[in-house]
Amino acid sequence: MTENKSNEIKIKTVNLSFYYNRLHVLKDISVEFPERSISAIVGPSGQGKSTFLMIFNRLWETIPDARMEGEAFIRLKNKWVNIYDRSISLPELRRSAGMVFQTPNPLPMSIFKNISFPLKLSGVIEKQAVDEKVEFALKQAFLWEEVKDRLSDDARSLSGGQQQRLCIARALTLDPEILLLDEPTSFLDAGSGQIIEDLLLSLKESCTILLISHYMDQIRRIADRVMELSGDTSNNS
């Protein structure tokens, strides 16, 4: 493990608690994550790891009866912002903090349309720029060579590992500052998992990565630091 203390703090939470109706999931968590590093989040099933990730793009807000206490900050474009402040634009926050889910979730459309989807959402329509971005993101996600001749195929026709790299590429098209990954390799075979690990190591040059993982050897290989969510305390090592 290469602890990188010199890096500045990118993300922090202050006295964060989270409730699903009456179920108290996250209890008074105050942590900090340095930039340009991979931080692994571990812990037994049901401790709230996925919930914790959703704090940072506010995706939990669509869940009825969910409630958060405390504060969360991200240093976006070198300025600390309280991401739960009223002035924050939700779409903008979610473009800066990309998320990749446990099960690959390509949209039911072509590969090209999947990758260019976030661009369309943010109003980039100039053909040349879109094409370039798509190619760049696919190359970044080690997928370009495999799909460059079939960009108009349905994305769901790709293999599981390819789909997951597609989802990472899609999250990368908007140059996010933060990447939130929820067990991205748990449904993949060792080979595809290896490719994604290499991919994450190459991405940490430009992103701050929070990664949920169940695999201790994976964490040993790529994580710079580990945060454990367990029982009523959270340990930060």
Partner: protein, 293 residues
């Protein structure tokens, strides 16, 4: 042993039921074809008028089915055209925006509307035409009133199928676009709606069928036995189902009854063409929205 027997019993019962329905459909369609196809001819459709003159609307067809065919097509296009945008919007509202009590209230209301017999809707359309006539002398029961009444008749189907199609999208797909920075409206427009198109299309097809076959509503709201091609939205018109109804209760000789079967076959063909058109439109739309670069 007993469980095995029950399983075999249920399986064969299900199988038989399916077969029964299928053969019933075959018998009905076969009967229609046997009776109706021999009567099909240009003169059945166009009477003594030349087809070219009739199609170019240069001369009215007086004894053929052409005006009824045109009336049915116009009626279906108008009423489905009126009902579809409203139905889709209401379905999207129910699925994506309304919550809690209000949602249950609306759902109950649409279910009640779906249960209203078509003759009641016809009566309502008729009363509407009469009361409007007090203010605007040109308004009688007419094509427009019929189309409005039929639109009301099929709205519940459209609303419910749209709502159901949207709600059955799995939550992973539902959260994908918001996680990439989509607003709610963008999510609906770019993901949820295109994904629901197959379901919505089946609702539209159901609506087309309902509008094409309905007799009760149009009988009270403007259809007549002889009107020619309708000159405007405010004129009376002819329609195939009404012709079939009329001829089968008032026929004077065997030939006239035969033309009723001919009209039924033509109605089936028109419905099939409209279904195919709806299907084609759906495929084009999905392709445009989801695949083409």
């Amino acid at each position: 042993m007993k469980e095995r027997f029950i399983e075999i019993f249920i399986k064969s019962f299900a199988w038989l039921s399916g077969l029964l329905l299928l053969s019933a459909a075959f018998v009905i369609i076969g009967f229609l074809l046997v009776k109706g196809v021999p009567t099909l001819s240009l003169s059945l459709i166009f009477g003594d008028t030349s087809p070219a003159d009739a199609l170019l609307l240069r001369r009215q067809v007086l004894t053929g089915l052409f005006p009824a065919m045109a009336g049915t097509c116009l009626l279906v296009l108008l009423s489905v055209g009126l009902a579809t945008p409203v139905g889709l919007a209401a379905g999207i509202y129910l699925a994506e925006y309304s919550r809690g009590n209000l949602k249950s209230f609306f759902s109950l209301f649409y279910d009640i509307l779906a249960g209203v017999p078509s003759i009641v809707i016809g009566l309502f359309g008729f009363s509407l035409a009469i009361s409007l006539h007090h203010y605007v002398k040109e308004i009688y029961p007419c094509l427009l009133i019929s189309a409005l009444a039929l639109a009301f008749l099929v709205l519940p189907y459209l609303i419910r199928t749209t709502q159901f199609a949207m709600e059955s999208i799995p939550s992973e797909t539902r959260l994908t676009a918001p996680a990439l920075g989509a607003t709610k409206l963008q999510n609906i427009a770019y993901v949820l709606f295109p994904r629901s198109l197959p379901g919505i299309a089946s609702g539209v097809i159901l609506a087309i069928g309902r509008c094409a076959e309905d007799t009760a509503v149009i009988m009270l709201t403007g259809v007549v036995a002889a009107a020619g091609i309708p000159g405007s939205l405010l004129s009376a018109y002819e329609a195939l189902p009404f012709y079939i109804y009329y001829i089968s209760s008032q026929y004077r000789d065997a030939y006239e009854l035969q033309t009723g079967y001919g009209a039924a076959v033509i109605l089936l063909i028109i419905c099939a063409c409209l279904f195919l058109a709806a299907f084609y439109l759906k495929n084009q739309l999905m392709d445009r929205m989801l695949y083409r670069q």
